[in-house]
Amino acid sequence: MPSRDITEDRHDADPRPRDITDMSSDSAPQPDKAHGGHDNRPPHLAHHFETPKQQFESGKLGMWLFLATEILMFGGLFCAYAIYRGNHQDVFLYGYGALDKMWGATNTVVLLASSLTMAWAVRAAQKGQQKLLIAMLVATFMGGVGFMGIKAVEYKAKYDHNLFPGQQFNAFYYESGKPKYPEKLAHAIEYIDGRNAGRGGASHGTDGQGGEHSDAAPAPGEGQVLQGAGHQQAEADAQAPAAVIVTASFAPPADVTNLAPPASPADAGVLDSAIDHAGVVQTPHAGHTQILWEDLSQTERGKVHIFFEIYFLMTGLHGLHVLIGMGLIGWLILKARARTFGKEYFTPVDVIGLYWHLVDLIWIFLFPLLYLIH
């Protein structure tokens, strides 16, 4: 069909029978073009396409299909998330306490801004504004840098508190009903309980200040104030609340036991869910649920690490996509500096833009699901 000037209607070829006279002119052979007389073809038009428009639309369709595969791939993880979230509510309510809402929100803003600059870059490419294009691509790239930087800070905090994925790095592993790393566990519980206690206080108007930015355990006394009356923890030594719970729920090594004797033998049993602690766990205000280690049943305690695995798989796979996107945008910057793009040819900017928006979109789902649940 090289002889045919192919326009948009080509792709929706009329299913009705064609008029013969119509066709005869279409199919008049023009052998010089049939063998790929590429002379008057735009330089970016691949040999197997007839028009730049066809090539552009193919590229876009290809990218949309690729994005469909991405959505399904992440869909598997979202599905895993939904199943564990549905089956182990309290585990998620407990585990998310380790995440930092402020960093998450900041990253959301950073990514949204980079989506804006990306869209702007596409427009600049379409209009042939070379300098603006490069500026916007660089801004988008920097958005990626910012996002990954913040992610690195967050991951570092998880690593420091033994909340990393993997048996060696996560404090919440159990082995035949006993914690694998009692000391690490005590520390991690202290960390998360402190933050969760803070969050529970959110309904009192402090909005979780206690937990948000500190890697340290809550200051003595703070926990007491925020945890509310009637809570076991409030009576315990605020400096070692975790140790209390550890001892209460399973037999730790002797040294841990010595640190803090059991606060209440009643806690050693299976405390199934927040319901068992009605009035203790559920703060009556604003629907916030405050889950502490002692509120988790024995089975659920063994599953807390899965929250972190899912968190890391989801944000890790997403982060990998951000990195790939940054690589692609870096490539676009190089190409744009060589003045490759213009009104006639901007397909790569456009389709990589689509990809970047999807990466942004996935984060828009990840952020509330992981950071804002309650």
């Binding site: 069909m1 299913p15 009705r16 029978p17 066709m23 040999h47 197997h48 048996q167 063994g302």
Partner: protein, 573 residues
């Protein structure tokens, strides 16, 4: 179906070579001209060599395991532990290699790559670079499996069920990575085909003038694009479970092993249709061509492909009736499973109706098509048996299941693939094969296949469990019989290979159109030139073959423009 396009013929289809005699095979020379080629036909050939190598490897494993099953243990002669381990490795590698490296890629990656752009009168697929990348993904995935083979093997079965797969010491991680990379190869092919069929159709070829092979490839590609990513994430999760012990599937760590089964079958049931749909597309072409009749019920066949693809996403639970999922889930999955039989039967009936009163020629491709109908009917109907809850509980994990899916995945898919290979062989290589030898090989394959697998239905219904290295003496007859059958099947396949090699080396020169079919790939020389068509082919109803006259001197068909015009005019009324 409303038919018919442009009758006016612009080119002269003489069956003669291109001027200068160059074609895509000798267009450029040197290893690099192949390894860096963007030509869909060369990529198809590279796929052919690699996929057939995998087929030979997986087939060898099959013969080894059947040979091991020829005998069973007795108190005097017990089966050794190492023997059992070897058996576990053999049936696992047999399944994994053949599923991921032969059955899934064979038709789309070899014949689809080769033929799809030609059928569209296009110069290439939409994304030639991705096409080449998909081949490299295939090779890398294959290297992972090779590594598995040399580094402790794999004994999980091709399904990688947890928790065994996360606790065995065999190379699950490498196999998982291999399947992951192979998945990308499959995704890239599917993505490319969808974009190509959307964007590169020639003027005058609407959706309902597409050859049915392309409808089938389109439906297949939808599954490849929509289901494979779920396998990818499943395998990543499995890998994370294996390496980091994340605990999502491992009950010892708080995970849920049945979740793995859900994830796995969400891909792997649709994958069955990745295997069978393109095969059905081939059969539609073969039945029409060799009955010399217009395909019957074009739009029914076209839509049934899409229906199978979509329904295929909703039936995965039929692999898990005994996993403890709820009775309600079982019933729903069973019902939807039954419903897949409807579009499948639509195809069968339309093929039979096409043959009715046709002028049937029993050339080798047609013999394979007939074998397909036979084998697929058995495979499909036993699938309905297994879809019913009560029988499934009885037959679950028995040889009945083994026989069923071999009838579909091997009997049907493989015969369609071989039929397609024979059908397009003259186009791909410009050489004819030896017809009598091809027919003998066909007979050995058809007979050998049925000997091997039909008796497994009986063994299974008598309670012979699958995946066992040993069995009770009462099953000895079934196993011995089946093993002998597999040797016949293997002999037939070796004969096919010899037949093909002979055709390449000594085959008679093929005419442009040895079969008289009217799809566009027959409107160019055999083999086609580098850019596919010297002259722009004219689109017309792919199943109206009247414009092709038989020419004895070239033992092939020659296009008659006059007749084409007349036929097109008739088509208007």
């Amino acid at each position: 179906m409303s038919v018919i396009q442009d009758p006016v013929n612009s080119g002269v289809y003489s069956g003669q070579d291109q001027p200068g005699g160059t074609n895509y095979i000798n267009h450029s020379k040197g290893v690099m001209s192949w390894l860096l080629t963007l030509d869909h036909k060369r990529i198809g050939l590279m796929y052919m060599v690699s996929v057939l190598s995998a087929f030979a490897l997986g087939g060898t494993f099959a013969i080894i395991l059947r040979t091991m099953l020829f005998t069973h243990s007795s108190p005097e002669n017990p089966i050794s532990d190492s023997g059992q381990e070897l058996y576990n490795q053999m049936f696992t590698l047999h399944g994994a290699v053949l599923v991921f490296m032969f059955i899934i890629p064979a038709v789309p990656a070899i014949l689809g790559n080769m033929i799809l752009p030609l059928m569209l009168g296009a110069k290439d697929v939409a994304f030639p670079r991705l096409n080449l990348l998909s081949w490299y993904c295939y090779i890398v995935g294959g290297l992972f499996f090779l590594f598995v083979l040399l580094s402790g093997g794999l004994d999980t079965g091709w399904t990688f069920y947890t928790p065994y797969s996360t606790s065995t010491s065999t190379s699950v991680a490498a196999a998982t990575l291999g399947a992951f990379v192979l998945g990308f190869s499959s995704i890239l092919t599917g993505l490319n085909f969808i974009a190509t069929i959307h964007m590169l159709r020639p003027p005058g070829m609407g959706w309902f003038q597409l050859p049915l092979f392309l409808w089938a490839l389109y439906a297949t590609s939808l599954i490849q694009v929509l289901a494979t990513p779920v396998l990818a994430i499943t395998l990543l999760l499995l890998l994370a479970e294996k390496v980091l012990h994340i605990g999502i599937f491992d009950p010892a760590l708080g995970g849920d092993p049945v979740l793995f089964q859900h994830f796995f079958w969400f891909y792997s049931h649709p994958a069955v249709y990745i295997m069978i749909l393109p095969a059905m597309g081939i059969i539609s072409e073969l039945i029409s061509t060799f009955s010399r009749r217009h395909i019957f019920g074009y739009s029914f066949i076209a839509f049934s492909s899409i229906a199978i693809a979509l329904l295929g996403f909703l039936v995965w639970g039929h692999h898990m009736y005994t996993s403890g999922q709820s009775g309600m889930a079982n019933a729903v999955f069973s019902l939807i499973t039954f419903s897949v039989a409807i579009p499948s039967a639509i195809k069968i009936f339309n093929w039979l109706a096409t043959m009715y009163k046709g002028s049937i020629s029993l050339a080798t491709p047609m013999l394979y098509a007939l074998a397909f109908i036979w084998l697929f009917t058995i495979g499909g109907l036993t699938g309905v048996f297994l879809g019913s809850l009560a029988l499934n509980i009885h037959a679950h994990d028995t040889y009945f299941v083994v026989a069923h899916f071999h009838y579909v995945m091997v009997g049907s898919m493989m015969t369609a693939f071989l039929g397609g290979m024979y059908y397009w062989w003259p186009k791909m290589f410009g050489k004819m094969y030896n017809e009598p030898v091809a027919k003998v090989a066909w007979f050995l394959i058809f007979a050998g296949f049925n000997l091997t697998f039909f008796i497994q239905f009986i063994a299974g219904s008598q309670g012979m469990p699958r995946r066992y290295a040993d069995y009770l003496p009462e099953y000895a007859f079934f196993h011995k019989f089946s093993t002998v059958g597999s040797y016949v099947l293997a002999a037939g396949l070796v004969l096919v290979l010899l037949n093909w090699i002979h055709a390449l080396l000594k085959g008679k020169k093929a005419p442009q159109n040895p079969w008289g079919s009217n799809t566009l790939e027959w409107h160019t020389s055999s083999p086609p030139p580098h850019e596919n068509f010297a002259e722009t082919p004219t689109v017309s109803d792919p199943y109206v073959m009247g414009a092709w006259d038989y020419d004895e001197s070239i033992d092939g068909y020659v296009h008659n423009p006059q007749k084409a015009q007349e036929l097109a005019q008739q088509g208007h009324h």
